[in-house]
């Protein structure tokens, strides 16, 4: 039911205005800036340059490097988060021993400040004083330069992302699993379907819509990553782990190259939008099939 009363505007407008003024308007302001050549240090009069900032960026290998780095971190970590998260959510949904305890403790990483997590990770990954290399020695593995080698640094960032955000996947998938009807499983049991068959035939298809949503949210959020990288590697070694947000921060806050940074953030937005559209288009047939 919906009713009509002019007071409805008083309820909606405060929130609407705040979002419009603080989130949407800066976006438009930023878009306008992205067509300008604008610098604060050294101060330069603003000049309309059209799409120059965009073409500059698109031909800048550093931009493509950051797109690649960000994509690797986002896709790898979300894929692993989903697989691990699904497994744990299944275990929790089947009421494993100590489920109450696990459910609360598994949530914790999600609520810890990413900068704090990154500081702890720096200590753990430290090559000489950290516990990880000591354990590696103990078990006979070689010691590794976790944060100073390009590939290992990327791997370490992914590990931290998994640690922090798998709880989110568990939380949502568990809620989805608990919402599945029991009678389908009872019928499957009567048909003597094995657990494996039940998973691929019932659980997975029925969980597909929520899985798609969870993966989507996580990928979009992962693309925004900055705090962890900022503290753990600062984008290094070199620019090997520089993500899009960090690149924008460096350009904007260190070089105060305003037009360029605005253009960069809009290209970033474009990358995220293209990814989302491709993702939804790829997924659509499957979602409809199992509706």
């Amino acid at each position: 039911m919906t009713r009509d009363d002019p007071i409805k505007h008083l309820f909606l407008w405060p929130a609407f205005l705040v979002v419009l003024a603080i989130a949407i308007f800066p976006l438009i302001f930023s878009l306008a800036n992205s067509f300008m050549s604008l610098r604060l240090v050294p101060p330069m009069p603003a000049r309309f340059v059209g799409l120059d900032n965009y073409t500059d960026l698109l031909s800048n290998p550093r931009f493509w490097q950051t797109v690649k780095t960000t994509s690797i971190i986002a896709f790898t970590s979300v894929a692993l988060q989903f697989v691990i998260g699904f497994g744990i959510a299944l275990a929790l949904a089947k009421r494993v021993k100590g489920v109450e305890f696990f459910r609360v403790s598994f949530l914790m990483p999600m609520l810890v400040a990413p900068v704090a997590v990154a500081l702890v990770a720096r200590q753990i990954f430290n090559p000489t004083m950290g516990p990880l290399n000591q354990m590696a020695t103990f078990f006979g593995f070689p010691n590794l330069p976790y944060l100073t080698d390009a590939h290992w640094a990327l791997g370490s960032l992914i590990a931290v992302e998994i640690w922090q955000w798998t709880p989110f996947v568990i939380l949502l998938l568990l809620a989805g699993l608990q919402g599945l009807p029991d009678d389908v499983y009872e019928a499957a049991e009567l048909e003597n379907a094995s657990g494996w068959q039940q998973f691929w035939g019932i659980t997975f298809p029925m969980m597909l819509p929520i899985s798609a949503a969870v993966i989507f949210i996580r990928i979009v959020e992962s693309f925004k990553i900055i705090d962890t990288v900022f503290v753990m590697t600062g984008g290094g070694p070199g620019v090997a782990t520089e993500t899009l947000t960090l690149f924008a921060y460096q350009e904007g806050f260190k070089k105060f190259n305003l037009g360029y940074t605005s253009a960069l953030s809009f290209l970033f937005l474009a990358v995220v939008l293209i990814l989302s559209l491709v993702y939804l288009a790829l997924l659509k047939p499957y979602l409809e099939k199992y509706k």
Partner: protein, 342 residues
Amino acid sequence: MSVRDLHGPRRWVAFALCCAWFAFTIFPLYWVAITSLKTPPDVVGGPTYLPFVDFEPTLKAWRELLSGIRGEFYSNFWSSAIVAVSSSVFATLLGAMAAYALVRFSFRVKLLSGVLFFAVAMGGFLAGRYWLGLPPATASILAFCAALALSVIANRFPLPGKVMNNDDIVFWFVSQRLFPPIVVAFALFLLYSEMGKMGFKLTDTYLGLTLAYIAFSLPIVVWLMRDFIAALPLEVEEAAMVDNVPQWRIFFGIVLPMTRPGLIATFVITLAFTWNEFLFALFLTNSEWQTLPVLIAGQNSQRGDEWWAISAAALVAIIPMVIVAGLLGRLMRSGLLSGAVK
């Protein structure tokens, strides 16, 4: 017993998996906790794992931190706490109001008036800046007000094109989460500094940071609260309406108390987000209202390998949220969140 319970060896496999994940989850937290109790030689001399067994715990790092010997820390803690709590309160309240309006009333927004807002805001800003030679802050305020007024007026006329309903408005709110925050954080920093030049200081103020946090929490609040409010029974409200209770009293006197569990859950989620937020705080604050995450992020370059001190500072940011995790777990157990994540 449900058919979905596990039997036999599989039960133990699942249990082992959970234990392994628990060890992985808890180890970093354990590590930071014991490191904050170590003395410098204990840290530098290689990793040690068990207090009282391979090192003697001490509260030295905590005493130094709490007595403020090593730089200011209370001021960051309090700005974090004040900004996080108040922006979560306001975001939850405003978001609940908006969600209520979107559940109980119908809105119609014409797509064309939205396009008009965009065109006038951007065109007006550019025109004011380059043809009229206005300073950026004046140009943007004028452009914003003109665009808003024009699009509200335009919405009253029968415009051609798509008419958007409540679901589209909710989608509009939620889609804000899609935007990389750096786009807005940077533009907001510029706008705030321009406002500062006009004598209205927003960077490094309570108002500036809180407003940004409210705007960025609102999408998720509206999304969550919409489900909570839609789940409320309508009869109570209808009975109140028959008695001619004014609408605002229905909302504050009936709807809000009825949806209290939902409000608490939403508040807790928003609080976790605002307490941990880093990017906006980095851009919009520098000394007076600098929050804890920004302070902590700077520890590493300031202190190098003084891990005992860094760990204590990190724990100050972690502990409140661990308490929140406990709360959230209790809420989850009561089945509260299961309806909200569909």
